[in-house]
């Protein structure tokens, strides 16, 4: 182990550059997958004819594939169909569609867990299906969704490291470059990378706890 040689300013800066890419990919994928996943989850919950069954097939397919395969598919197979996204957006798209499927299941489960009496009370007062969903069911489901959603986002942030397979210059990729030149750097560099991931995800889960406490009624 060579801490002094490994933890130089240049190396740390190179790793931070990688971590910046990690965060960019993660943040974009989190936002997009949350929006799309919520939409899909709500649509599946409403049991619209045609739309809901199609979405069910898409979600089940995505959930049962390895994320690595999806990323490879977007990066290597889509170009053959004329869609060339480049490394960065291949990672974003791959992560987004996979996490979107996961989030949609969390949303659907959250909606279904709201007591049926709530819907009945709202409908009995003359509110429409949409008003009931928006004012009564969705707000209650959201609170229940926070913990599983956050752990899904934490998974997402960690899973950005899979994009190392398509040579996205994110944290793991840059770490590899540093220690590939010198095996005695492996331990210190991996330790530092672990610290980056841990601190970020730990903060994320703390924010979630605060949010959950704030929203509880």
């Amino acid at each position: 182990m060579n801490f002094q040689g490994a933890w130089t300013l240049g190396h740390i800066r190179f790793m931070l550059e990688g971590f910046a890419v990690t965060l960019q990919v993660a943040v974009i994928a989190i936002i997009l997958s949350f929006i799309l996943g919520t939409l899909i989850g709500v649509l599946r919950y409403t049991r619209l004819p045609i739309v809901s069954p199609i979405l069910a097939v898409i979600v089940e397919t995505l959930r049962n594939l390895p994320l690595l395969l999806i990323i490879m598919f977007v990066y290597l197979a889509l170009p053959e169909l004329g869609i060339r996204l480049g490394v960065f957006y291949s990672a974003v798209v791959g992560l987004t569609v996979f996490e979107m499927a996961m989030i949609s299941e969390i949303v659907r489960g959250g909606l279904m867990s709201v007591d049926k009496g709530q819907t009945e009370a709202a409908r009995a007062s003359g509110m429409t299906y949409t008003q009931t969903l928006w004012h009564i069911v969705l707000p209650q489901a959201l609170v229940k969704m926070i913990p599983p959603t956050v752990s899904q986002f934490i998974s997402l942030l960690k899973d950005t490291s899979l994009a190392v397979a398509i040579a996205l210059p994110e944290l793991m990729h840059n770490s590899q470059i540093i220690y590939n030149g010198n095996p005695s750097y492996i331990n210190p560099i991996l330790l530092l990378a672990a610290l980056f991931y841990f601190v970020t995800n730990f903060l994320l889960s703390q924010v979630a706890l605060l949010l959950e406490r704030r929203l509880r009624y």
């Binding site: 009370a121 009995a124 007062s125 003359g126 509110m127 004012h135 009564i136 209650q140 009624y217």
Partner: protein, 242 residues
């Protein structure tokens, strides 16, 4: 106000409501009693379309509930409902629980809706809890808020589905008192309950159901003193003997 004509309902092959014929006048208080599983709640829930019927004709407030193209939402504004488990919205305060439907369904301004909310909270005796959340209230208080929530739509009739069955014994009285006041003021009420004292005191008419059928229909005096049907006699004996 409410008319059932040869109404039948099946849950799959289970015949829940058997040839129901019933007419309820405006201002009448009708109490439905009977053993559990007799179809009382199902009957009540067909009135505002929470349950569909399989055959027959059901007319509420001049509208045929089971006809195609009936605007159930429009019908439901005129029919308040109180549930066994209160079903208050836990993420909303007492005030928000009450003003939601008047604002969203009737299109009242927040100011108007709040005025009505205060009026009815005062009536059910818990104006001081206006900013509390349901979880901070006792069962009896929650049910009184639920009644105020129903009244705030200024309905033509109120449905009560076992409103005291989920309450601790010491809280049943406060809810029944509110219901008695309503009955005295001339509200049309259909009440499913096991509270025989309430039925005897307040009902204009008792409907006794068993196995999906209306077995007996009479005034409380007649029903409690001289029930005609054997099944009603046995039910009363069981329920009043302890």
């Amino acid at each position: 106000m409410i008319t059932f004509e040869k109404v039948n309902k099946y849950f799959g092959t289970f015949h829940v409501l058997k040839n129901i014929n019933l007419h309820i006048e405006t201002g009448e208080v009708v109490v439905i009693i009977g053993p559990s599983g007799s179809g009382k709640s199902t009957l009540l829930r067909t009135i505002n379309g929470l349950e569909t019927i399989t055959s027959g004709k059901l007319i509420v407030d001049g509208v045929q509930v089971n006809a195609k193209g009936t605007d159930l939402n429009k019908l439901r504004r005129n029919i308040g409902m109180v549930f066994q488990h209160f079903n208050l919205y836990p993420h909303k305060t007492v005030l928000e629980n009450i003003i939601l439907a008047p604002m969203k369904v009737l299109g009242l301004s927040r100011q108007e809706a709040e005025k009505i909310a205060r009026e009815y909270l005062e009536k059910v005796g818990i104006l001081e809890k206006i900013n509390a959340y349901p979880s901070q209230l006792s069962g009896g208080q929650q049910q009184r808020v639920a009644i105020a929530r129903g009244l705030a739509m200024r309905p033509k009739a109120m449905l009560f589905d076992e409103p005291t069955s989920a309450l601790d014994p010491e809280m049943i009285g406060e809810v029944l008192d509110v219901m008695k006041t309503l009955a005295r003021e001339g509200m049309t009420m259909v009440v499913v309950t096991h509270e025989m004292g309430f039925a005897r005191e307040v009902a204009d008419r008792i409907i006794f159901m068993d196995q999906g059928e209306i077995i007996e229909e009479s005034t409380p005096d007649v029903f409690f003193k001289n029930p005609r049907e054997e099944r009603a006699q046995m039910f009363l004996k069981r329920i009043l003997s302890h």
